[in-house]
Symmetry: C2
Subunit: 165 residues, 2 copies
């Protein structure tokens, strides 16, 4: 009974909050999230500048993920990305940023601007070009079967270049 | 009755979709949106580079809004920003970007990095330094009472510097 009342209140609040608000001609849209489906529970940075600032100030490595919503390879990787250990590690030990648009920083596209592409950056703002996936022609690409390598690469990235003494 | 069944299905789907998914120790979080409360129905660009690209390719002016979630002036402006005409104009005629972190582009902080601050950019990638609010010391600031000026500034920004012939 209490649940039903709560549900009713929820529905009323949801209804009332739509009154007087702009609705596009093409119909109501679902608000875009910063996660874009790569982990709704992670706290995503919005821009590379923001991510670098967080990484430096919190002394945590940064993971930059380039992807495209319409790319089947990105979609396939996204499915396995919800893996509990990946999400937990990223949430607790990393700053995370996902981008669908390239930055002007060429250090993030050392061997091209393909997607999906995962690049780690040290809190010293050094791009970890040495942390690579299994493909020689696209060094920062991962496929769904490469989850274990991705996890071990995260462990590598966690060993900071300049550890605090 | 049909509504009740639909609601039940919705609840079941919502429940099932949380199984096996990562939940932070501190409890489940609400996914961050790109709108950050400035218009859930607008299609926000994520980064300045992305916004400039959209602006050029769609030949629409860009509105860049700098704000901070904890800033009372930003919060006050955000409340009136839900105005129907503002939202409709932005949705139909503008590319929109809101940022809580400064970019490296100094053209966007011609008279300082204060918030809230609204800057228009022409599709030619020219920052419209001439479109200003009513305050001499913070030229791109607006307060809740300045909604009419903001709307007329939007009309100014819609007159593109280089119109198609």
């Amino acid at each position: 009974m209490i649940k039903a009342v709560l549900l009713l209140i929820l529905v009323l609040v949801a209804m009332s909050s739509t009154f007087g608000k702009y609705i596009p001609k093409t119909g109501k849209r679902i608000p875009q999230t910063l996660s874009r489906g790569w982990g709704d529970q992670l706290i995503w940075a919005q821009t590379y500048e923001e991510a670098l600032y967080w990484s430096r100030s919190r002394n945590k490595p940064l993971m930059v993920l380039f992807h495209l919503e319409d790319c089947p390879h990105s979609q396939a990787l996204r499915k396995v990305f919800s893996d509990n250990e990946i999400q937990k590690t990223l949430d607790e030990d990393f700053i995370v940023l996902n981008l669908v648009y390239e930055t002007t920083d060429k250090h993030l596209s050392q061997d091209g601007q393909y997607v999906p592409r995962i690049i780690f950056v040290d809190p010293t703002m050094t791009v970890r070009g040495d942390i690579i996936g299994p493909y020689a022609n696209r060094m920062y690409a991962y496929e769904p079967n490469d989850l274990k390598l991705l996890l071990s690469n995260m462990q590598k990235a966690k060993k900071l270049l300049k550890s605090e003494l």
